[in-house]
Each structure stands twice: as structure tokens, then as C-alpha cells.
Symmetry: D2
Subunit: 350 residues, 4 copies
């Protein structure tokens, strides 16, 4: 079976680098084009990234010799699908242009996330939202994934919401610096420090989970109706967002019911045995002091959601801690998983 | 006026070191005795602390030549008051023994905190709780201060509680490593990491503020009746606990009312112009991204509570961020301020 | 071919954990015994290590159910070889006792390192030193590996010493906190700080490379005769020792000669294709700012020595930077490689 | 006596911020002008710096309302002296222009440092170099201070060079991130990491100390003739450069002679009792593991050089560790001290 030809838009950024890493030797996709800004266009990826590659393994050989183009459909002719890690300042238009030119756009950017015709997808959570693709008027389609901060939170909520109904969620994040890209956070701001503010983050965290857990009605996604309050913080951690959540349910489950629900949770990626799917989407740690970024980040090759410290909440019902890898599960990995799902469901036209 | 002779119990620990620093050239108190465990007893403080002094200024000259004793009233004869930074494994008994021997005990340990006859005092917040000292049956009296985590939170709640009534509080802490003492947290556990658990901390955080904000009834302190839910986390910050709080009020104030209430808040330490009292107990920062440990920790010489990011909460009423210096305002400084208050109110018998 | 039955002494420590990780599914060795101190003896490894396992992957399944014994030959009956990560306070005697009881001891401890009858071995560097095993009077034999700090340095010097003769070496290390074990370095000592001192480290660094690069004479190892001056420093890095070296040669090579020598360097582990041998023992990075722990630590699965910044020295001849993984190449990995070499050379009696 | 009117060029940068802090309530100088780039010009300092002030105390009140100008003599009319923390891309020309317009320039930039007519001054070390000011042809004069990395090293060498003659110096630095300014080092590059390279730093470190320790001959400064080899490294420390040095002398002193020489060392700033002069320019710490940034940085209010670990070197003669505060003693503080010296010596024309 021939592989799908794909491009990576925003290939030099943090998320772009993860795309390139995760797509190395991918069974479904072959990267033929890498696109970035004018500064990089015309040079090989290896040349441009020599001092900018920030993942602790070498640049994959396949990518080194690809000559970077601009992120335009005319410049990346032949690709059937693009992964977009573009900056939100340009992602909206560029992605729309690709969709208008028959290309599937798997986007990690925020621009189209809240469009009711665009799935805000986490493949285990809401693959049924793909139905709304039909209502997109372009020949290509846009699929987004949620913000890194709420990715793991939403996964931990999904099976509980289905059974018990979420009524409200307080969430407090401690977010890794890689979430701000490169150069991103200046060391003088975060070394031995915490910053209780991340521009725009709380806004996203308070609306995206409801869309992920929403329903399809008349070809549009209708967000679930619970309330979220978010406190977002930056901490001196390299990768891995840790989120403390307190949750009120419509019908309060027991501790055993919650643990059993998480343990048994499995989605379409697991059923279809997608290449990047973690075997166990939600891994619960029994230890008092887990999850922790340093010890649990690589669970399921960075694709699992690690949960711990389930205990009663004296104001809402239950509270727990969620960890997910912000540049893998929370960004590039989630996007690749979405693309794998489309592929297996035959939704990528050839 | 002659100075009060005081001792420091647990003088070699983190809190003990801060006591020694804060008591240098103190106008009311003169340190005559330093007590610690058997390992240190019999040696001079300077000798013992050569490689254990962890504050970035030299050991005060006055302390260097004091020969350390055991923490027993018979070993520290002549002291009228002791500051206790003892480990909780022994603080309960030792402090009681001092109180039985006519000595005022200003304790930072948790052992007697929840005794309804013992003030859990933050001098700006509840100096009227000193009234219950009369109900203590010993000749000496015990006064405690609250846990470092909730110190600033309680101060930020106090004037609002008085006017608007607290109904519930969600709190989420990011706590400095100095809170665990020395050697305390192993570097392997926290470098580039966060640990979403601190043993015993959430239990304390969920009951101490209510006692601080309680009322005196029949010679006992009766805790206020609101609910608290706490998530406590350790982060790689040296000094300074940052706490995100969401609060529901009995009567919801406006943003302006809250800011005005904080600005105008002042307590007995300010009225009596106590040496360690911050001029402004609550300092509100207007910037989007404050307070931060690195930039705001020294506000009011580490004795002020720094607040920022006041904004509406979509589940409770309001949310904000509180920073206080955990080993100064949250421990030794709060204790010294309590002692200063006793002194000025004539409650230290000579 | 049947696997060699091995034990790990000091199995609960940092080096012990690495042994257990590296020996999972090993083609030559099967771990039958784990030994540690009295506190742990009698319990299963999984039980003891629940909150002490500090590697970011789970405890290997094979180890979890092994019941820990004391480190005594009578307690670990049946093992043909032991890997020792014992604390130096007891390693000397315990290892000797094993050697007297027919067991091969592969030790990472310092106690026997400077004994002229004991190889101080880095398998690529001085496998010919195994010859002195014959002169050990015990039925079992002891083989040690060098200190983590000088491991990579010695490898980078080896092929140059052979061709050009080392005359003197200045070395300045920036050492990771994992080198001090667990709990090891208190966070209060190293967060946002450097400590220009590591007890005993400079002494070892100034004599071990000469023994590694020495010759066998009359059944004993005679150290090479060049001088070393070492400055050893602790820095807030998790894993990976970075060492700056300045070197004077007997016959000064050109830059090209040095680079070519490193590139072509290969030792017996590569010839014998040992399981843990890195394909390229010395990897030179051309970038200005490499090697760095974060980016280069996993080169050759942590078994390669990464070198960079080769440039002329205005006082000695040449200077460069060396990085090696202190708990893999500098400790457990070097030891396992030594054991693999013995195995392939038929030096482990069955 | 009227205060000298001064300006700060590059007032918004890291060094500029320190200037503004150190000049608050200065007995000799009053800041009348602050200059920065076009982005800031025309706005008040308080407005521009709201989110860019990175020192952990508030912006001094005096500076908040000063309207920033461009760094041009016509824009800062009336100043008799400027402190320059300008970026080297423009410092050369701007400083020369000021000197041509009767203004004394106290520069922290590198541009004019190696000009034989310009003192590269550390006030305790080479105040006699002021003699070459006469040979500068402009009406204003330029005085520079050395690079932060070698500031403390040079001070520790100065009295030894005078008595015993330096023959060669190996130096190895571990430099704080504040040395790179703001935003400076991206967190992704340095968190839990070290970078063994700082662009241009080794070049400066290998020539500046010799100029500082040089002699005036025919109205020019002639550098001392010893050799230096430098390894410069970036570490995750906020403030404070730690440097390990190994030194060969023309005539090897004893340990006691070195310690005595350091203890007795005192320069013109001490004789003239300059406001910013540390009482003891060189402070030796006896502890095994000092100096350390966290514990020793504030010695002499950041103006002292802290030395420790003096021991014999097996290749050169002696080795030790030097710490100095890179943005105070190594930059703004050194510059202000130079200006204070000029003032007291009557070298600032009114």
C-alpha cells in the first residue's frame, strides 16, 4: 500500500521538530515537504536546524536534505496531507488555503479550533466528531487537536463524563517551558521561579474541553455545558504539563468506579491499533507522589495520560492529578494520531 | 528597658537559622541560649553550623560563640521566652515542658496548633485570640503560627472574610524546597520536575485557615466554618510559596471592593509599629504575571503578602494568586512578630 | 548457550538501579540475586523500590519479585558473577569475600581500583589489562571500572596517548547530581547554584587515568607517568558529566590528526560486537556549543563519549570538551561492558 | 558640594538596570537622563520597564518618571558623565561621540577596552592607568571596565602578580545566565544543562587580564606578558560567575604568603573610602566547598571578590576558585566604582 505524501508546516518550530521525529519511518506517511518562513526557505532542513534542533536525538536522516519551502500549496505540490505547527499569527489563513486546495490539514494551531465545523479532536475521546468534516465546504478538510494543557485533563474526564456527567471542573496547571516554543521563555524569568500566568492559556483551557466532550448536532459540534475555572502557571520543567483537577459530577461515582472506568477506557486508536496509540490511554499510578514529569513522562512513549492521587474533594466531588507530555500527546503526537485515524478510516483521499 | 532573654529551640534547622538571623540586634529580645539535638549540644553554634548555615549572609556574630544546649528548661535557665523550630517528633512534649516552667513558647511546630486553647496566630489576622492564653493551665503559655502554605492565603482572606464572609476556598500551592528543611528534598526528586504531593500538607491547609479566622468563645477558639480543598505541590523554587486560590463568598464583593479592602487592611502590628511588621501587610501587584517568587519575595523584608491576578472565577466567585516568604512570613518571621506583639502588649512576664 | 547467573550487590542504590535496567533481557546474563543492606533484605525488590526507583522507566518486571538478600556469598548462592554498586564503606571487604568464593566481581566501587593486580578497566581502552587477573590469588577475580568523572576523558585520551604521548592534563569538571546517589545532593545546596567541590573526587581524577592508560609489567599494572590537575565541580544537571580538558603532548599532533584518530578509534568491544558496545566509541560534534548533557547524553545509548570544541590551548597544546553519561558509561554501563568482554573472552568460569 | 549630573546609556538592559539601582541616592551622582533605543525613547522609564525590570526590588522611584531619550549628546544635554551599558553593536560610536562632546564615558562595553589609550580599569587593581586619559584626544574621556568573567580573577591575581609575577593562568568559568542579558539565554538551552561555549568570551578572557595588570609606558597601557587559556561555560545560575584558576608564578609563593597577600590587599577605593568600595576587596573562605554563588554572592554588597580552595596544582603552581557578582562587581558596580574614583580624584570637570 502506498504511503500518503505529507508535508510539515512550521517545520522548524518546537512542534514541527516533534512532527519530524514522530514521522520517521512512519508506516502510513512519508514526508516529502517541509515548510517554514522566508528566513529558512530555500535551505536544507539540516542546514537550518544545525543549532536549532532541541530534541535529544539527532535530526532524522530523511529530513536533513529536504529543501525547505514556504507554506503555500503551490510550493508543496503533491502532498495529500499537511501537519501544521504554524504560529497562530499565520495558521488561520494558510491552513484554510491548503483546505481549499484539496489538502487535509491536521493542525495543532488554535485558529480553527473553536469552529463548530472543525473537530477539536483527541482520537480516543471524540472520533465521532469526524462526522462534521462533511459540513466543511472545502475539498480538503481541517482537523485540529486541543491545547496541550487540557489534553490529558480531557482524556481523564471523557469516560467519567460519559457515565456520570461532569458538572464543573477547577484546574490548576504547572506547565513546562517547551510549551512556549523556542527561544520561548527567557531563563531569567523561570530559573528557580514560577510564573502564575501564561498569556491566553486560561481562556483556551476554559472552553476547549467542553468542545472535545461535546456532541454532533446538525453537522456541527455543540460543546458540553459544564463550567471550568483554570489557573495556569509556568514552572521550570522541560517537558510535561502537570494539572491538578477538582471535579463535580452530576452523579457522584465511588473511587472504585472511577478507577475501574479509567482502567477500562479505550478508544478507537486502540481498537484500530494505530501506530502511535498508547496501549493503555489512561495509566493510574498508585504511589502517593505521582505522576511526576521526570518519572512518568515517557509512559506509552509520551502518548498516555498518567493520573494519580485520586481523593475526595471537600468542595467539589473528587480531585486528582494529570500529567501528559505537552509536545507529544499535547501537540504533535495527538495530531499524528488524528491523521492515523483518518487514514485507517479511509478519510484521506488519494 | 531591659531586653527579654530568649532561647531558640531547634537552632540548627532551617527555621532555627531564620530565627537567629531575624533576632540579630533585635530591640526587644536578646538571644542567650541556643538548643538543638545531642549531636550538636556542647559545641559552639559557629562550629556546628560552619557547613550547615544555608542563608546567604554570614552567621550573625552574636550566635557563633553560644554553646548549644539540649532543648530542656534546665539547660536553658534564665530564658523568659523560647522560639521553637523543633521537629514535630519532639516539639509537642518539649514545648509543653517549657510552658510548665514559666517560659513563653513561640512555636512554629504543628503539634499544639489545633489545640483550642492555643492561638494559631498571624499577628495582623487574629491578635484577639491571645485572649485564650488565660485558659492555658501552665505558667508559661504556648502561641503557635500557622503552616507556611496557608499563611499568605489566610492574610489575603482575613479582611474579606470580615466584610463578605468566606463560603469556600480552593487552593493550589507551588511550594519552595526550603519548606522541607535541610537536607530536605533530594535534588534527584525535584530538579526540572514538580512533585504533586507533600506529606501532611493538605490536611493542615484544609483546617488551619478556619482556626486563624475563627472566634473566641468561652475561652476557646472556634474555627470559622467554611470549606477548603487543597492541592499541594513541590516545585524547584528556593524560597517562596505561590498559591492560586478560588474563593466563594457569602456575599460577593466587586473587584474594586476587594482591592480597596486589601489596600486598607492593617492590623495590630502596624498600629503598634512592631519592628518586624511590614508597612503594608497586603501588597497588590497590577502586572499580569505577578506575584513571582524571584521578583516579589522580599516585599516588606519578606513579611508582606503579595497578591496579584484578581479575576472572576467561573465556578466560585473570585480567584487570585498569593505569594509569601515561607521561612520568613510563613515561619520564623511570623513567630517573631507574634513575640513582638506579646511584648508590646505586656504579656511577657519578667 | 546457558546464561551466566549473576547478582547485583547494592541493588537499591543509583548504580544498582542502572545495573538492573541494563541487565533486563541481557543475552549473556540472567539476574538471580539482588543484595542490599539489612533494611531491605527479606523484602521483594518491587516492594522496597516503590518510592526509590529513580529511573524514568518502570522497574523491570524480572526484578520486582526477587527477594533481596544480604551481600554475602552464602546468601546469594549460585551466582557466578556479581555486579557491585556497593558503598565504599563496605565494598572492599564484601567484594574480596566474593572473590574468595569463586565469584567474578565486576565492581564500580573505588576500593580495589588502585590495586596493581586489579584492572581499572574501560573495555575500549585497556582490555589487555585483564592479563593481571592471573596474578590475583583468589579463585574469583575482581575487575573495576574507573570513576565516572574521568571515564570519558580517558577514552578521549587513549588513542592520542598511543600515538602522541600525553605529557600533562588539566581537567575541569561540571558533574551531574546523580553522581552523588540518592538522596545525595540536597536541593538547597545546588538549585540555581554550583558547588566547586566534590569530596575525594579530585584525588581520584588525578591518578585513575594514568592507571587506565598504563602498561602491564610483571603481572602488575604500572600507571602511565603524566601529570593531571583536576578541578571538580557539582552543577544542577541530572545526568552527564561535562569535562573541559587542556592537554600537552610529547609530540604535538595537528587538529586533523586528532580528529582522525578519534574517528578511527575502536576497541575490543566493537570488534567483538558486545551487546552494550557503542558503534562509535568517540563521537565528535562539529557545532560550536556541543557537547551538552541535554542534547548529547544518549549518544550510543549512553555508552559513547561525546567530544567537541577541539581548539589550540595557549599554554598546553590542545583543549576540548568531553561528555559522558555518568551512571551508564561512567558506572553501570562500563561495568556491564567489562563483564560482556570477560564473557566473550571465556574468562567467566562455569 | 553639588552632585555630578549623569546619564545612563542602555538604561533598559540588564546592566542599565543595575546602574539605576546602584545610583539610587548616590552621594556623588544624580541621574538626570536615561537613554535607550528608539522603541523606548519618548516614554517614561517606569512605563517601559513595567514588565522588563528583572531585579528583585522595585524600580527606584527617581527613575520611574524620567522620559527616556536616544543615546545622543544632543538628547541628554547637561550630563557631565554617562554610564554606558550599550550593546557593543553601537557602543563604539556612541561612546566616542559623547567623549567628543565633553562628557566622561564610564563604559561597560567591550568596544574601547583594548585601546591602549583607554584604561581597562578595576579600581583596586590599576587606578594608575588613569594617567593615560591625558593621551585621549577628546575633551571627554572614556574609561572601561573589564569583562565580568575575568573581573574577580584579575583582582585575585593582582597582588600576587605584584609580588611573585604571574607566568601563566588556566581558567575555567561557570557563568551565570544574567551575563547574557534579557531575554538572553532561552530556558530550553540551559535548564538542567550546561553549555560549554559562550560566543566571544574566551577571546576576551585571554587578553583582558594582561591589560588590567599592565603598565603605563609613554602614555599608553602595555599589557603584562603572561599567557592565559580559558574555557568558558554557561550554567543554570542566576547571578555570579564562578571561575576555577590554575596559576604558574615566576617565583612560587607559599600558601601562607598567598593568603597573607590577599588578606592585606587593599586599593585606592578603600583608601579613599569610596561609597561602593567593599571593605575587604578579597575575602577568602576557609570552608572546603566555597565560594558558591548562592551563599557568597552578596559579600561586600556584591563588590567583593570571594576566593576559596587554595591548593597546590600538580602541573602549574597553585589553584583556587574565584566568585564575583557578574552584574555588580563584574559590570555596573565596577563602572560606578570607577566613576567614584574619578570624582574623588577631581577628574570630572564641572
Amino acid at each position: 500500500m502506498e504511503k500518503i505524501k505529507v508535508g510539515v508546516l512550521g517545520a522548524t518550530g518546537s512542534v514541527g521538530q516533534r512532527f519530524i521525529q514522530l514521522l520517521e519511518n512512519h508506516p502510513f506517511f512519508t514526508v516529502t515537504h517541509l515548510a517554514a518562513s522566508e528566513k529558512s526557505a530555500g535551505k536544507t532542513y539540516g542546514e537550518v536546524m544545525k543549532s536549532r534542533w532541541k530534541i535529544s536525538s539527532d535530526i532524522p536522516a530523511y529530513a536533513k536534505d529536504i529543501v525547505i519551502t514556504l507554506p503555500k500549496p503551490t510550493a508543496t505540490k503533491g502532498v495529500q496531507l499537511v501537519f501544521s505547527g504554524l504560529d497562530s499569527s499565520i495558521a488561520g489563513e494558510v491552513e484554510a488555503e491548503y483546505a481549499q486546495n484539496d489538502v487535509i490539514v491536521i493542525s495543532n494551531s488554535k485558529n480553527h479550533r473553536m469552529d463548530p465545523h472543525v473537530p477539536l479532536m483527541s482520537a480516543e475521546v471524540n472520533s465521532e466528531h469526524l462526522e462534521v468534516l462533511k459540513s466543511q465546504k472545502t475539498s480538503g478538510k481541517i482537523i485540529t487537536n486541543s491545547n496541550c494543557t487540557i489534553m490529558g485533563v480531557t482524556i481523564s474526564l471523557k469516560p467519567l463524563h460519559d457515565k456520570y456527567g461532569i458538572e464543573s471542573v477547577m484546574l490548576f496547571s504547572m506547565q513546562a517551558i517547551s510549551g512556549a516554543g523556542y527561544p520561548g521563555v527567557p531563563t531569567m524569568d523561570i530559573l528557580g521561579n514560577v510564573v502564575p500566568y501564561i498569556s491566553g492559556e486560561e481562556d483556551k483551557a476554559e472552553i476547549e474541553p467542553q468542545k472535545c466532550l461535546g456532541t454532533v448536532e446538525n453537522g456541527q459540534i455543540k460543546s458540553a455545558s459544564f463550567a471550568i475555572s483554570a489557573h495556569c502557571n509556568r514552572v521550570p520543567v522541560f517537558d510535561g504539563h502537570t494539572v491538578c483537577v477538582s471535579v463535580k459530577f452530576k452523579k457522584k461515582p465511588s473511587k472504585e468506579e472511577i478507577l475501574k472506568t479509567w482502567k477500562e477506557f479505550s478508544g478507537e486508536p486502540q481498537k484500530l491499533d494505530l501506530p502511535l496509540a498508547p496501549k493503555q490511554p489512561i495509566v493510574y499510578r498508585e504511589e502517593d507522589d505521582r505522576p511526576q514529569p521526570r518519572l512518568d513522562l515517557d509512559t506509552g512513549r509520551g502518548m498516555a495520560t498518567v493520573v494519580g492521587r485520586l481523593r475526595e474533594d471537600s468542595i467539589l466531588d473528587w480531585k486528582w492529578v494529570v500529567l501528559s507530555h505537552n509536545t507529544i500527546r499535547g501537540a504533535a503526537g495527538a495530531a499524528v494520531l488524528n491523521a492515523e485515524l483518518l487514514y485507517k478510516k479511509g478519510l484521506i483521499p488519494s
